[in-house]
């Protein structure tokens, strides 16, 4: 459904990413994770044709995103970072406006969500809270009944209640209607509730593209204390990342517990309190990309 090949982008002389390759399969809910500045919004802008990449190409439904036809655009629902919408309209006006563009428009999907907001019929969007605006934006996307939903930082500015409402509604909808979602959020716990697959990018490269389950089971964290706190483990190839404070070590790796223990034994590195720590997606993400 989405295919990006050798995607490269620079802002001036600053390289954002180089030769980025990924695909989003039909029916999947894929989350794009990356630290600030790794190019998540840049990727979304390229996908929607708002930015011309320096190199490479993205295809959506087989069309180059730089030249999307109106028919293809009607199959893509796009949530702009911050739930941006036409705030000079009220909830009726905005529904009337968008309904004129989409032949498969489902007003019930919009009004069902809006009914949860308890706002008067003439409520202007500019006078709504961020959470209410998010529901309007989501309602419009659901009513559009598109095949692909691209959601840029959907949890931005939302309190936990609205975040959960947004996610639960969206996941239920996507699964029931076999929709494809490509999304990003800074709140990884939210992403974990929503997504099936994860794409993690770091500066210039893709670190992981797999299911969330596979990533969480294959990527491991081991905590232990070194007898000699000057022991240096950083340059070992099997170690993806290591966080060390005095003699306390957090080691992140794709290797198994027995492989790590064997390595420590072979190198005569004495450790105590060796434990494997269960990680949520957020812990795994930080473990993979480092704490800045």
């Amino acid at each position: 459904m989405i295919e990006c090949n050798n995607l490269t982008h620079h802002y001036g002389e600053k390289l954002v990413f180089e030769n980025l390759n990924f695909q989003v399969k039909e029916g999947s809910i894929l989350g794009l994770l990356g630290k600030n500045g790794t190019g998540k919004t840049t990727t979304f802008n390229i996908l929607n044709g708002f930015l011309q990449p320096t190199g490479g190409q993205c295809l959506v439904f087989g069309e180059d995103t730089q030249h999307l036809s109106p028919q293809t655009k009607s199959r893509i629902g796009f949530l702009i970072e911050g739930h941006i919408q036409y705030s000079f309209m009220n909830i009726h006006q905005i529904e009337k406006f968008y309904s004129g563009f989409y032949p498969r428009w489902k007003p019930a999907a919009y009004w069902e969500l809006i009914s949860k907001l308890n706002v008067p019929p003439g409520q202007k969007i500019s006078n709504m809270s961020c959470g209410q605006r998010s529901q309007v934006a989501l309602g419009l996307i659901l009513a559009q009944n598109s095949d692909l939903l691209i959601l840029d930082d959907f949890s931005m500015g939302l309190d936990p209640g609205y975040r959960h409402l947004f996610i639960d509604y969206l996941r239920e909808y996507a699964k029931a209607e076999n929709k494809t979602i490509f999304t990003t959020s800074h709140i990884i716990q939210d992403m974990e509730r929503l997504i099936d697959d994860v794409l993690i990018i770091d500066f210039n490269k893709v670190l992981v593209q797999s299911t969330v389950g596979e990533f969480r089971s294959n990527f491991r964290r081991f905590d232990f204390e070194l007898e000699n706190d000057e022991t240096d483990l950083k340059n070992e190839r099997f170690i993806v990342n290591i966080e060390k404070v005095k003699n306390k070590v957090e080691l992140y790796t794709y290797s198994s517990e027995s492989e790590v223990k064997r390595y420590l034994d072979d190198k005569h590195i004495l450790v105590s309190n060796f434990t494997q720590v269960k990680m949520e997606l957020e812990d795994a993400f930080i473990g993979l990309t480092g704490k800045y």
Binding site: Y11, N45, N48, G49, F50, L51, Q52, P70, Q71, K73, S74, I76, F78, I80, G82, I84, Q85, Y86, F88, M89, Q93, K96, F97, Y98, S99, G100, F101, Y102
Partner: protein, 222 residues
């Protein structure tokens, strides 16, 4: 789809265009009350004398009204599109990007045209009560570049407001400011008679300039 685009533009500019048109009509009413006053207290001969031989333009107060209208409507229409880069919403609509832009502009320029036609009709119509057709025709020729300046200002502001780069915006503003002075170079009655058709073509050409700013926005210029 064009109906939906027009609906959005109407929601943005409706109070501005209605308010502007009403103010313009009030202004024209004031002009003709003043003219009626002059006829009553100084006599028709004197008024005709000042209009014919001293170059007095009783509609002179109207000179910058179309310009103000063009600026106001363009700002009301295009500024909301740039706040939080809402123009992305327009470009994401299932509609060719340039078509969406041209429909937006057609609505804005069309609304201005309706206002200007009302003003034009009122000024010409009231003038015919007091002056012969030849004098009214001269007045119309004089007013025409002012009306064209209103459209030119509207197109220029669209070009400036949609431009994503500040330096470019400043340059366009400066060029636009100088460009608009072309429409106000001479104050003489009917002085623009030989130039009006040229000004019309120039203004029409200016109408597509904002597509370039929107193109730069779409390519991610900053």
């Amino acid at each position: 789809m064009w109906k939906s685009v027009f609906y959005k533009e109407w929601l943005k500019i409706r109070w501005f265009i209605i308010g502007y048109t009403l103010l313009g009509i009030l202004g024209i009413g004031y002009l003709f009350l003043a003219l009626k006053h002059s006829f009553a207290f100084t006599g028709g001969k004197n008024v005709w004398n000042t209009v014919l031989f001293q170059g007095y333009q009783f509609y002179g107060l109207f000179k910058f009204v179309p310009l103000a209208g063009g600026l106001t409507i363009a700002v009301a229409q295009y500024l909301p599109e740039t706040i939080n880069k809402r123009l992305k919403l327009t470009f994401h609509l299932p509609l060719a990007g340039n078509r969406a832009l041209l429909l937006m502009q057609a609505f804005g320029a069309g609304s201005l045209l309706v206002s200007f036609l009302i003003f034009f009709g009122l000024v010409a119509g009231f003038s015919l009560i007091y002056f012969p057709i030849q004098m009214v025709t001269d007045g119309v020729i004089t007013i025409l570049p002012w009306l064209l300046a209103g459209f030119a200002a509207y197109f220029m502001v669209a070009l400036v407001v949609l431009e994503p780069n500040r330096i470019f915006r400043l340059c366009y503003s400066l060029v636009g400011g100088f460009f608009l002075t072309i429409y106000f170079t001479s104050a003489g009655t009917a002085a623009y008679a030989p130039a009006n058709s040229g000004l019309f073509i120039l203004t029409a050409l200016l109408s597509i300039a904002f597509v370039f700013s929107a193109y730069r926005f779409r390519k991610g210029e900053m």
